[in-house]
Symmetry: D3
Amino acid sequence: MPYVNIKITREGATPSQKEALIDGVTRLLQETLNKNPATTVVVIDEVETDNWGIGGESITTRRSKGL
Amino acid sequence: MPYVNIKITREGATPSQKEALIDGVTRLLQETLNKNPATTVVVIDEVETDNWGIGGESITTRRSKGL
Amino acid sequence: MPYVNIKITREGATPSQKEALIDGVTRLLQETLNKNPATTVVVIDEVETDNWGIGGESITTRRSKGL
Amino acid sequence: MPYVNIKITREGATPSQKEALIDGVTRLLQETLNKNPATTVVVIDEVETDNWGIGGESITTRRSKGL
Amino acid sequence: MPYVNIKITREGATPSQKEALIDGVTRLLQETLNKNPATTVVVIDEVETDNWGIGGESITTRRSKGL
Amino acid sequence: MPYVNIKITREGATPSQKEALIDGVTRLLQETLNKNPATTVVVIDEVETDNWGIGGESITTRRSKGL
């Protein structure tokens, strides 16, 4: 029954990498808390680098500075 | 004042279907909890099938298996 | 497969009112988009009135002003 | 360490306006609660006007009525 | 930089189980997408069983039926 | 119409500090994007330190190490 939301910047994650995230987090919840994989929902949000900030500036800006 | 977030897979929901969701959930909150429709906010997120997982695999994969 | 998050202020919603929200929104998604009720997840968050703001002030403050 | 999610309708916010939101909310958390800007994360979601509802109708519909 | 939100029912997850979730999902993002653990944020929400619905009824109701 | 969710650890933020966050973020959206304060919604979530992780460990653990 768990619901997991993973937010990452949109920078080319492939379908197979997303499958690995979905599979991995579902297993983790089963192993750690005995949660039923059949009803574990995972939603991945890919966010534009203009729309993600850390340290008071966007990832776009940070990348342009080589951070 | 309620805030409702509805996440569905991106598979062709039409503008009128989205209107029906917005109207329906706003009425439901008014009828059930007497919430003021004027300040009830509804946000619908449509998620790519690669980015939604259940049962440890993506909806894309499940659809390809006929699930 | 939909996921719905309903946020309301914590002001005494009863278990049966919450059941009505869960049932109502699940039916709405079935009727509107033919979504399978068996995998429709609904999570209700009840938020303290100090922690909810609209119009630049908390609900606690608004209630004290009779708004 | 705070995490802030800002949802707005997708109506042409520019990269520099988004920078101003990221910078402003990061400063606000530092000034108000002494939160470390280095680990303050801000994510901006821009939502289609068909997918945002208030008062029981979508923003698209409201705009068409001049609201 | 990823942000992960894990929602589970509030049914006695221990601090060490929560540590295992935080550690496990942080490693998963490093292994799968080379994400920096130092800025990976994980937030766990524990939701009352009255407030979590699946199949049109609350977990509280389902548990009372032996589901 | 914007919706803002601010997540912080539960470590004693006062009602007046929360008012300052609500007021500040509402003003920021008005000044930056000309958003109407009357329909700007802010929800603050206070998260237990056991339930917040960064760098692969909970804030509780980090605090016990003096981090």
